[in-house]
Symmetry: C2
Subunit: 473 residues, 2 copies
């Protein structure tokens, strides 16, 4: 999961520019019979363990599936086979090409009088390198950014920022920036390597990996995250005097790789070319088996669509499920999908991605314009028995939908409780045992109800292609 900084902008733009597609000029409404069917679907989904079984299958049979690794191809084959096994009407893949990053080995240790190992993991995108140098601690990113150019020459910069726990994951904004911006700030100050307290909320000896990037024109330096107890330890040692650390990373970019977005469809009965899109991302970081990030998102959306497919008659529109390739290293799957389907924005009625773990969904909203607000309220009412609150005007699309949402895609927000998400996110501990099957079934029920009703609506949710700004990068 990445924080979509464009969420608020997307809300405003979609509301301003969104217009009706199928039913110009009239209010979008969900017919009463569909609401009755949705209530049955909700109860059926709550009683089903299908979502959990799919996550179990992916995380067990494929395990960790770093984008570009040998397991990436196995994950794609798994997803194709799983869609088919579940009886999806159409299953296909679309290529996604990206630079390939590999982790080979990593270690860190305090040297000298207090010699001891530190639990560390390379940040995604880090180059290889071994640096033995004195550590300079900064309490947060701003302090490092304020360091004078050259002031860290030959040193290891260490940002010791503690990320805040929050149900909505809002702590990941500042926490994630320490990972994405810290290395470049360290380079500007002359540092030879970069260490950070993991962007996480746990207190286990498990560092949190995640992608970083280096600003144009800078020479990348070895960059890694310490587990929280190791950051504590390093801070305590630094309080006693100078500390030298030896950081040894063997990792780096190595050519490019072509993976696949894997797509399955439950075909609509009346307007099969109109699509309600749900999904998650198929890749994971390599340290865990990617259960909460994002096996859960893949499993629960596959299960929701499968359960919708069992309903007779089918809803009017098609349910499309996407297992996105390589979300973790830069939304590559989402960008590829948006580029390939740029001409078809308006065919995608509305979309929702699940990529924030497997906690219960507690809030719902959409980007729907005024003429679809009543339909949004109808969906909210159908979700209410699941303990889901309607919070109009809040939220944003999932990370992989961000690029497409910027092109005008309408989105729904099904907010998961992420209180514990950053205890596990991007660590070895992201494994199946951390998923509560009942909470996952509640997610399946919510996605099934949302997708079924959106696919049954008379009228649209405001997806419409809008003029794209020229690329500015």
């Amino acid at each position: 999961m990445r924080v979509p900084p464009f969420a608020t902008i997307a809300v405003l733009l979609t509301a301003a520019l969104g217009g009706p597609v199928l039913a110009a000029g009239r209010e979008t409404r969900i017919p009463e019979p569909a609401l009755a069917t949705a209530a049955q679907l909700r109860e059926k989904a709550l009683a089903s363990d299908l979502g959990y079984r799919i996550v179990e299958s992916l995380t067990t049979e494929v395990g960790p599936r770093l984008a570009g690794s040998e397991a990436d191809a196995r994950a794609v084959a798994w997803a194709v086979a799983k869609f088919k096994e579940l009886g999806f009407d159409k299953v296909w893949t679309e290529p996604v090409t990206f630079p390939k990053w590999e982790r080979r080995s990593e270690s860190a240790r305090v040297v000298g009088a207090h010699a001891q190992p530190l639990a560390v993991t390379a940040l995604g995108g880090s180059p290889a390198g071994t640096v033995e140098a004195e550590v300079v601690r900064f309490p947060d990113l701003a302090a490092l950014e304020a360091a004078a150019p050259g002031s860290l020459a030959g040193k290891i910069a260490f940002v010791d920022y503690r990320m805040e726990r929050a149900r909505d994951g809002s702590g990941y904004g500042p926490g994630g920036r320490v990972r994405s911006r810290g290395p470049s700030a360290a380079i500007r100050a002359g540092a030879a390597a970069y260490l950070m307290r993991s962007a996480g909320t746990d207190s286990h000896r498990m560092p949190h990996t995640g992608i970083t990037r280096f600003d144009e024109g800078l020479t990348p330096i070895p960059s890694a995250a310490l587990a929280a107890p190791d950051a504590d330890q390093l801070a305590r040692l630094l309080a006693r005097g100078p500390v030298k650390v030896r950081l040894a990373l063997d990792c780096g970019w190595d050519g490019s790789y072509t993976s696949q977005n894997v797509i399955g469809e439950i075909r609509g009965s009346q307007a099969p070319d109109e699509v309600v899109l749900i999904g998650g991302h198929l890749d994971s970081w390599d340290l865990g088996t990617g259960a909460i990030d994002d096996g859960a998102g893949v499993g629960l959306t596959m299960a929701a669509a499968k359960l919708i497919g069992e309903i007779k008659p089918r809803p009017a529109r098609t349910i499309r499920v996407i297992a996105f390739a390589n979300e973790e290293q830069g939304l590559h799957g989402g960008k590829a999908y948006a580029a390939r389907h740029a001409a078809d924005v308006a065919k995608h009625q509305i979309a929702a991605e699940s990529d924030f773990g497997a906690g219960r969904i507690y809030a719902f909203s959409t980007s729907a314009p005024e003429h679809a607000k009543a339909a949004e309220a109808q969906i909210a009412q159908a979700l209410a028995p699941l303990g889901i609150e309607h919070r109009p005007g809040k939220g944003g699309p999932g990370p992989d939908l961000g690029p497409f949402a910027q092109q005008g895609l309408a989105w729904a927000w099904l907010a998961q409780d992420g209180t514990d998400y950053f205890d596990l996110h991007h660590t070895p501990d992201d494994t199946l045992d951390k998923i509560d099957p009942r909470a996952l079934a509640q997610n399946v029920a919510a996605y099934a109800v949302f997708a079924y009703l959106a696919a049954s609506a008379e009228g649209d949710f405001g997806s419409t292609a809008r003029p794209q700004p020229q690329a500015q990068e």
Copy 2:
């Protein structure tokens, strides 16, 4: 911490054979003024962070301190310096020689269609070796022990027993036996290597190490523990069909090493040759920094004695604190102490070791014979305000005191709440942040009150040398 199987025997023997030392024929009693002083000491200890600061110092400055490693010597130097810094009257060391075991590297991975790494750690005492073989799962130790000789030829035996959580740590009896006896059972069935679900109660990607042993006449095989989520994963894969694992351990015995029991004394004012003994063990496993096992025991007993030393007048008897060498690999420090001081059993009035973490103490008892029961009750009453219950007839000595208790040493049991102990025990997660400073202060208060009152008692607690059986091994 090891389970002392001799606990019950010790209770019976001490009760039967124990006799008065200083005050033959009369009841042991604690004078009223000492009880009043103990109440003040209790409050002072509760308000002090000294115990926590000592643990912080050891775990930070020395870090992991595997017996026989470079850090073992640093830990001994730390303990000598810390006793002196705290103003102990006498500080010395006594040599402890043992075989040296080293961990160099370890890894395991599923190979084949479901290729993925497994989080694993070598059991202490395991030989080096790389084995790639099919895994055969057993639900518990009994099932493996029932395997026919030769039936596991060329295979990896995997015991998937789940240890039970309990406040008193009783789940470690059967859990620990999977570690101590499993490898020999696997060898008898012909296995090429041994894997076990960690003897632990957590669900993190952190395997639990710990010593194992191989029965006489068997050729040791590589033996390791899987983290709980990895044992889950392996069991799920095995449910789908045959699974091959590649286990690669580089570790083993390498000569012998001489460490030290480090001993500090707060001298008694009237009977300085009579000793009340408290302590913990100085060594730790190498994966964590040994905060709960057993930095806590060292820190809280040092702090308790230091606080007693500040009282004027000092108690009659001497308080001796021992930081035992190499408990983890076979009670080497405790055995060396018992052998060296065999003639002085009766001088040691009573002893208590803390080696079960840093949870609050909830129960108290001693091995005191009938003539000292009233004094035991007086101590229990002084401990009651700390939330400690008197449970006469229960408990046993700490592991390092076991050998000496078998020679007739009287002991006290200050039972810590170990509900969470086996979440951390022998894992990388045994770090300072897991200690609650307030719970540790409660421990310091309890040890201070107990040791002060035992050192102030008029009469003995039943320590008396008893005839030793001939060695039967």
